[in-house]
């Protein structure tokens, strides 16, 4: 390969979903359920973000959001591959052949894209949450979860920067952009609470050192997001929390439509490849 080219292409090496399958580690049932939650969060958001391609304010932003979607899809593939190892199912079995009630994503991830401001507000909450989550998960006693987190955290760090940069620009842009990002934050905030809710599974896995206790992330999340909002001279929204239930398979009306679109090809043409 020519050494003076600006477009030298090397694949690099990093953990891939295929490596997780090849390693053959079988996840314990409770760890698999936990991995399913994290995988579903990223999968659903990746599907949501993909919609922006060709619709963002500029071509450059199409690519930025598309890149983030692909990063998230990569994390989802790793988590789902590992989750499926407990029940001899593949990542595709889990993504395409589960019904709505079997998905374990939190409600925030299935929220509609809305306008660009709402997508950015959702990205802000998600990226700061995932950054704290994966940072902590790198110390998991489960080596596969720790390895996935170590790869994901660098990418999520960039997602954090992307959302923060846009919040600053929308807040400091025009009167209209500030109105929209303010409203977007109010509409998004009710769904943040669910991310930090502990339940039996999270508590027992966290006690064993395999998982991260969701409530333990709240303080650092608030500090991180608070710093961005403060720089943007925006208030942290004071709005009541929305009812959650995603971790138990109870979803809003939005998820069904999203899944119909995401799963239709695999279900119309089972086993199709291209």
């Amino acid at each position: 390969m020519s050494s003076d080219s600006a477009t030298r292409i090397t694949p690099g090496n990093a953990l891939r979903p295929e490596d997780i399958v090849a390693a053959g580690n079988k996840a314990p049932a409770d760890v698999a359920e936990y991995a399913l939650r994290l995988g579903d969060d990223s999968l659903i958001l990746a599907q949501r973000l993909g919609w922006w391609i060709s619709r963002a304010p500029e071509l450059e932003e199409d690519v930025a959001l598309g890149n983030i979607a692909l990063d998230l899809l990569g994390h989802a593939r790793s988590f789902l591959s590992y989750a499926g190892s407990a029940s001899s199912r593949t990542e595709d079995d889990l993504a395409y052949w589960r019904r709505e009630g079997e998905f374990r994503s939190a409600h925030l991830f299935e929220q509609p894209n809305g306008d660009f401001g709402r997508t950015i507000a959702r990205q802000l909450v998600v990226s700061f949450y995932q950054y704290e989550l994966y940072t902590a998960l790198m110390s998991s006693t489960d080596s596969t979860l720790a390895a996935i987190a170590a790869k994901a955290v660098k990418e999520v760090d960039y997602h954090r920067d992307h959302s923060a940069q846009w919040v600053l620009r929308l807040a400091g842009g025009t009167e209209e952009s500030r109105r929209r990002i303010t409203r977007a934050l109010e509409l998004t905030w009710p769904y943040a609470g669910e991310l930090f809710e502990d339940d039996e599974l999270a508590v027992s896995l966290a006690a064993a050192g395999a998982a991260v206790l969701p409530s333990s992330l709240r303080e650092r999340f608030d500090a991180g997001v608070g710093a961005v909002l403060s720089e943007a001279e925006l208030e942290v929204p004071q709005v009541p929390a929305a009812p959650g239930g995603g971790r138990r398979g109870r979803h809003s009306e939005h998820l069904g439509y999203l899944l119909a679109e995401m799963q239709v090809l695999a279900r119309e043409h089972p086993g199709a490849s291209w």
Partner: protein, 125 residues
């Protein structure tokens, strides 16, 4: 995804759906992609090499330009360092003045070291 079922619930439309060909306001111009300035991108592919011009992009400001450059020009592990320069800051030679600018050295072999024969007795040359 092809359907519009996931469109925003607040009635806002993405920029691409705008039909007006003549933007009348600054916002309209931005939506049609003519308001963000152009930036030239230079990528250093590895330590020890120079930054090489890779292409250009639109961005609202310098910070976003670096980020857009990262997304557009280093997706396949191409770089270890990026420069972005406002395209307006680049002063270029005039393409119509190629003759007077670039043809003069032609035929002037004596400007190359290889033109000269080595003198006898000179070592290390």
């Amino acid at each position: 995804m092809v359907s519009g079922s996931t469109t925003g619930d607040d009635g806002s439309k993405p920029a691409g759906t705008q039909t007006s060909a003549e933007p009348e306001t600054a916002a309209g111009a931005a939506a049609l992609g003519s308001a963000w300035p152009l930036w030239e991108v230079f990528v250093r592919s590895s330590r020890g090499l120079s930054h090489v011009h890779a292409g250009s992009l639109h961005a609202p400001d310098a910070q976003m330009a670096v980020r857009n450059a990262r997304d557009l020009y280093t997706r396949r592990n191409e770089g270890v360092s990026l420069w972005v320069v406002p395209a307006s800051a680049i002063v270029a030679s005039d393409p119509d003045a190629k003759g007077q600018f670039f043809e003069s050295p032609q035929g002037k072999d004596y400007r190359h070291a290889t033109y000269y024969t080595k003198s006898e007795g000179v070592k290390h040359l």
